[in-house]
């Protein structure tokens, strides 16, 4: 019987918190998904793991920007996350460069995101202009 994804995520999150070798856990998880033919669940599983880690006070953040973030920007992001999660024990920021965002930063969390990019503002402007037609 297949274990539910939420249960798998819960176990993996717990193991990641208590291990000194997270790479080994990740490899095991990958092997499990391949053997169970559940590779398509990988993104959902990651989101669930992030959610579980958030509950334990470990916040994983992906910061998408057009340029490498400055220390000042990283600090701003960290402070912003602390405000959102006052109980956070640890905040891990993964940087991701994407020129399509033009400028600014998009902060991606397990179940939400904060989009402060120029691209999103332009898209919103386009969307609002199109909505006015109907």
């Amino acid at each position: 019987m297949r274990a539910p994804r939420s249960r798998v995520a819960n176990v993996l999150a717990d193991k990641l918190v208590h291990t000194d070798n997270p790479k080994k856990i990740i490899k095991e998880a990958a092997a499990y998904l391949i053997s169970e033919h559940r590779t398509r669940d990988v993104h959902s599983l990651l989101r669930d793991i992030r959610g579980d880690l958030e509950k334990q006070g470990i916040i994983n953040v992906t910061a998408v920007s057009a340029f490498k973030l400055s220390p000042r920007a990283l600090l701003d992001i960290r402070n912003s996350i602390k405000k959102l999660y006052p109980h956070a024990k640890k905040i891990i920021i993964y940087e991701q460069i994407d020129k399509d965002v033009v400028s600014g930063v998009r902060i991606e969390l397990a179940n939400s995101q904060l989009d402060l990019t120029v691209k999103s503002k332009i898209d919103k402007f386009k969307q609002l202009t199109n909505q006015e037609e109907y």
Binding site: N79, S103, L116, E133
Partner: protein
């Protein structure tokens, strides 16, 4: 008088014989009676019949003449009536035709006005649509241009400043 002539018969002086005379008188009377009875009367009767026939024929001719005259009069009257009726029908037809033409003209005018109004509406809608499309195109163009310009102008330093500014603005909110 008879007494005076009687001797004449008796004597036969004039070659007359009373007896013969009476016989001849009787035979003459018989001939007369026979003629009257079997000749004159039928002839008179035939003549009367012919006269009556002729009179009847004349009378019939007169009656026929009168009937003919009357018939001609009636025919003339009927012809007059027929002409009058025909004139009336033609007149009514012409009036009806004029009415139909007028109605058709009014209908055509109405349809033309309706078509013009519809065309006007359609043109108006097309203009609005075209304007909206143009606006959309302009917005898209402006957005793309803005994106391209910002992409060109922004470097890592400016990007960092922008991020910092954004977070400060959020804190101020």
């Amino acid at each position: 008088m008879i007494t005076n002539i009687q001797p004449l018969f008796a004597s036969g002086l004039l070659g007359l014989n009373l007896k013969d005379f009476i016989v001849q008188l009787i035979s003459f009377a018989i001939v007369v009676i026979v003629l009257i009875k079997w000749a004159v009367n039928p002839i008179v009767k035939v003549l009367n019949n012919r006269k009556e026939l002729i009179e009847n024929g004349v009378k019939l001719g007169q009656e026929m003449e009168m009937a003919k005259s009357k018939l001609e009069q009636e025919i003339a009257n009927e012809l007059h009536k027929a002409r009058t009726e025909a004139d009336r029908i033609i007149s009514e037809s012409q009036q009806e035709g004029r009415k139909l033409i007028k109605a058709a003209e009014e209908d055509a005018k109405s349809k033309a006005a309706s078509l013009i109004a519809k065309a006007g509406d359609q043109i108006g809608q097309d203009m609005i649509m075209a304007r909206k499309r143009l606006e959309k195109d302009i917005v898209s163009l402006v957005s793309n241009a803005t994106e391209a310009i910002i992409g060109e102008k922004v470097d890592a330093k400016k990007d960092s400043e922008l991020i910092d500014k954004t977070f400060k603005a959020r804190e101020a909110e």
